[in-house]
């Protein structure tokens, strides 16, 4: 029982964000086609969500790197 619930929790941890992003992307792609101008706004946000995630991770990596660098130079 434990193994199964742990596994599903692990599965959720790994796939929850990708599944959410995939649903957002599909919703956005269809929204612009079905809902006119309002749908376009929805599409800009939801199809752009994966791009925002990449930008967020990239910025996080850069700031972590520069933080480590400044800590290292202060240590010297």
């Amino acid at each position: 029982m434990h193994g199964s619930s742990d596994r599903s929790r692990l599965w959720m941890r790994v796939f929850a964000a990708p599944v959410l992003l995939a649903v957002a992307t599909i919703t956005g792609l269809l929204a612009a086609l079905l809902w006119g101008t309002v749908g376009q706004y929805v599409a800009w946000v939801s199809v752009g969500a994966p791009v925002l995630v990449i930008v967020w991770v990239w910025v996080r990596c850069r700031t972590q790197k520069s933080g480590q660098f400044s800590r290292a130079t202060r240590g010297k």
Binding site: T25, L29, W35, V47, G48, K65
Partner: protein, 378 residues
């Protein structure tokens, strides 16, 4: 997941990606400028501009047809089309014969008000990029080949999603192991970009595949639906004289109320029979503007012969086009499309790098193992 299963999926992912890599890079690189083809054509001076005449009456369709024939003497009209995003322009397609080769077609833009010739359409550097993207200058076989590469791309994406689990289950989402080797860092970026863009990549890839089947679908429609629509006219010769285009447009509008003519195909062209005009009507919403409805009209009298909705497979083709081009959500969606396209290039490039890096890593290990073998005495 068992180690053997992971290995199998890994083989599928590696080889479907490797086989299609060069062609996917070509498609992504040529697709990037095509997203902005209208803006690039405008910038380079290849996009005809309508005359400024706000509120002026639109010229009749027959007047546009006469102007098109006068601009290209000795040739015949194949199609006249109206772009809903360019209301000031009417486009005319002429060729040496109604069933002439597509490469011999001349496309010209005319002012919708004055019928003045505004210039050729679909020329310049973007035409080269478009041909590279659609068929690599190899015609229908080239299209179908690229469609096959698109299917391999889809298999590579699905196998990539399957492999995402064993590779990332011990990490939090969006982990980039910056302290590890360069190969590991690129593996993390490859996994992350790949998995967050998976839906977009699958949609664009598969709609691209559907687009490569357009000609086959059209032939199927002609052989089945269109054939049954024109069956009562079987054996009738091509029209000796053509009906007035103004009558054709008016009757097509009456048959499909609330819709506008997207384009008219002249008798004998690939989109209709040898005896009929086909007026392809569109609605006014984002969706119905894509779903065309054909109205067949007698080539000599202009009377309506039949009108039916397109079959599901052609509707799927028409809907797949905007989903592939990304041209239906304004400039912000185009920019997002371009960024996602660039990210796909990064995924393909990093995948290739990871494969090469793994081979390089394995090669010394293999040679070391070979060198350490004890020679067997003969």
């Amino acid at each position: 997941m068992k180690a053997r299963t992971v290995r199998l999926w890994s083989v599928v992912h590696t080889w479907t990606s490797l086989i299609s890599t060069v062609f996917l890079l070509l498609l992504c690189l040529t697709g990037l400028p095509l997203i902005f083809h209208h803006e690039i054509d405008e910038l380079l001076g290849y996009a005809p501009q309508p005359e400024a005449h706000a509120g002026a009456a639109r010229a009749t369709t027959q007047a546009v047809a006469d102007a098109a024939l006068a601009a290209d003497p000795g040739r015949v009209l194949q199609y006249i089309s109206w772009d809903k995003d360019e209301p000031g322009i009417v486009t005319a397609f002429t060729n040496s014969a109604v069933d002439g080769l597509p490469d011999n077609t001349t496309v010209r833009a005319f002012d919708a008000g004055s019928t003045k010739l505004l210039g050729p359409v679909g020329i310049g550097p973007m035409l080269v990029v478009l041909k590279l993207h659609t068929d690599m200058f190899a015609g229908q076989p080239g299209k179908l080949f690229l469609g096959g590469m698109g299917l391999l791309f889809a298999v590579a994406i699905v196998s990539g999603v399957v492999l995402y689990w064993p590779f990332t289950r011990r990490q939090r989402f969006a982990t980039i192991r910056d302290h590890a080797s360069r190969r590991v860092v690129w593996l993390d970026w490859h996994n992350l970009i790949g998995v967050v863009t998976v839906a977009w990549a699958l949609v664009v890839g598969l709609t691209g595949v559907v687009n490569t089947w357009a000609e086959l679908m059209l032939n199927q429609w002609k052989a089945t639906e269109l054939a049954s629509m024109v069956a009562p006219y079987a054996g009738k010769p091509p029209p000796s004289h053509l009906a007035s285009l103004d009558d054709v447009v008016a009757r097509a509008r009456q048959t499909a109320p609330g819709m506008e003519v997207a384009f008219i195909a002249f008798p004998g062209t690939p989109f209709t029979s040898s005896h009929h005009f086909a007026a392809f009507m569109r609605g006014d919403t984002a969706l119905t503007a894509r779903l065309l409805k054909p109205v067949l009209l007698d080539g000599e009298t202009g009377e309506v012969a039949d009108s039916r909705a397109l079959p599901v497979y052609l509707q799927a083709l028409l809907i797949s086009q905007p989903l592939h081009f990304g041209d239906y959500g304004g400039m912000p969606l185009k920019v997002i499309w371009a960024v996602l396209d660039t990210l796909t290039i990064v995924v393909i490039g990093s995948g290739l790098y990871l494969w090469l890096a793994r081979r390089r890593k394995r090669a010394p290990a293999r040679s070391a193992a070979f060198a350490s073998r004890t020679p067997v005495p003969s």
